[in-house]
Symmetry: C2
Subunit: 333 residues, 2 copies
């Protein structure tokens, strides 16, 4: 088995649970700790990618440039990476990041919109970067159709394409089916990545299943620090890989100590599977739906979870939050 | 697929994280809520089984009899169950429980000591009870040898035999191998059960894998309330079963609400995967080793985790805590 490539997302997806409020100093401290603990790649950006800081997504405590500044010089081993959503970050943003030492980028789109990533993937390749295609909310597309989206990203030049379970809604067999579909359609030289969320408490299990079926790039974060119920917890994933005798570059004890001594104390509210995050993963909807659904539930005497499930049935995606009240009104009819 | 039988252990294994301090009223409230939410069986006892309240294991806020009193009359659907460890509880204790409406019991032994359960299994069957054989620390025995232990319990009369992953140390394939070994050696009429802990955050995944390979009795607890990193969280397990379209008797929303509104507020410290509980699952040792190992680590300048791993290598079991200092002294030699 190829040695898995471990990408930490504590400093990107992990921005969400603290409202993008890491200080510059915290980011540097964690990046150095992660590097010394042997992770292969460290992703740094606003939770919604470069230039995500805005009224819509929330402003960060610092700009992306402040977070990224002076990091690459500190890394002895890990590759510095970032993430962009086409339509939010521009190619100029990416070039600026490249000039600050960012060697790798993921271009993230909804799981049916790979074509919106083509220009950015091509642009990033022209900059000489390692490029990942990041197909978010992967449970909202069938294995076959998701693989076709992955093919679009591969053909645009992506070095790796990800099954991105943003809502933590995929079951173990769902992951297996998607990885298998990717393998069937992608060139053997294209890597397959997996990014899990823990809403159904399957984050580690799904990452392992993906690896066993061919994924070579594995995302995780310390204590699971990430949106919703969090990501696959990195230190737990490494413990499991050790027990499986899978070779990797990480030091388990260092990761455990960084997780417990630095990351967990930063959590304003615990990153865990609870009623709210389980509801999101069970319905399989964007976490941005939660607050609006809670308000509509209270106003119209409905159960928040029933609204979330109805939104899922209607296939609603991020940006449609203003329609949640209409859905609630339909439901009480 | 046979409809899984869901046994809640919030009121037995869930005693551990609060030092067996549920009040009588809390037990009754939870038992009623679990019953109304449709679980098939509710286990009530001190965390170490009937008569576990002692200097060794810690005294409960109430006696087992106080916890059990008046419960069976309240249940409309669920079977009232309990657990005993031979050597701690006596057959008189079990008979007393039977007379209080307990219909089912698990006889729990270390995974290599099924023979110590024979008399108690036979005795419980004579009382007309449903009987489970509970092979604890199942990762410390090979699939084949564990299955032979299960066979001993079956031959003594057990209706069901459990793979009990007390330390949360089993990986998904380890669970599969043990369930398969059980199926090979047990009569088709003997049920197979699974009891997971979440120390490697695989509690739900392992329970599902076990079910997919033939386990029909599944243990879980609300919010995972249980020893170490807790059990498979019941409400999450049910959400996953729903998504898999596996039929069962539980109401997901009621379980979620009971978990969040009643059980989580009782936790004095969070039941979760953290440095301490991950260390226990990674090493695969009794949780009673933790405190002694921490003390020895501090005294002799060692890493607690290294001591736990050494205890695991030596195959040490519960009751050998007084030897931990000797092990630490060996390590610094």
């Amino acid at each position: 088995m190829k040695k898995p490539y471990i990408q930490d997302v504590t400093l990107r997806d992990g921005m969400h649970p603290i409202g993008h409020q890491y200080t510059k100093e915290q980011v540097k401290e964690l990046a150095i700790a992660l590097d010394r603990a042997g992770v292969d790649a460290i992703e740094i950006a606003h939770g919604d990618g470069l230039a995500g800081g805005s009224f819509t997504f929330g402003f960060g405590a610092q700009t992306d440039w402040e977070w990224l500044e002076g990091i690459s010089e500190e890394l002895t081993h890990a590759r510095l990476t970032t993430l962009i959503l086409p339509g939010i970050a521009t190619m100029e943003d990416l070039e600026k990041a490249k000039n600050m030492g960012v060697e790798s980028v993921r271009i993230a789109t909804h799981c049916t919109e790979a074509d919106t990533a083509i220009q950015h993937i091509q642009g990033a390749k022209k900059l000489g970067m390692d490029v990942g295609g990041f197909l978010m909310m992967a449970h909202m597309n069938s294995p076959k159709n998701l693989a076709e989206q992955a093919k679009i990203m591969e053909q645009a030049g992506a070095d790796c394409v990800y099954v991105t379970d943003s809502a933590g809604a995929l079951l173990m067999n769902d992951v297996k089916d998607r990885i298998e579909a990717f393998k069937e359609i992608l060139e053997p030289s294209t890597e397959i990545g997996i990014h899990c969320h823990h809403n159904l408490s399957l984050g580690v299990a799904n990452t392992i299943i993906a690896m066993q079926h061919g994924a070579t790039r594995l995302d995780a974060s310390l204590t699971g620090m990430g949106a919703g119920a969090g990501n696959a917890p990195l230190e737990v994933l490494i413990a499991v890989l050790n027990k499986m005798e899978v070779s990797h570059n990480c030091d388990l004890y260092k990761l455990m100590d960084t997780a417990e001594d630095i990351v967990r104390p930063l959590q304003k509210r615990p990153v865990r599977v609870d009623r709210e995050t389980l509801s999101l993963g069970y319905a399989g909807v964007y976490s941005s739906f939660l607050l609006h659904s809670e308000r509509a539930a209270q106003k119209y005497g409905l159960d928040t979870r029933a609204i979330l499930e109805e939104l899922a049935r209607r296939g609603m995606v991020g940006g449609q939050e203003d329609m949640i009240v209409d859905v609630a009104l339909d439901m009480i009819k």
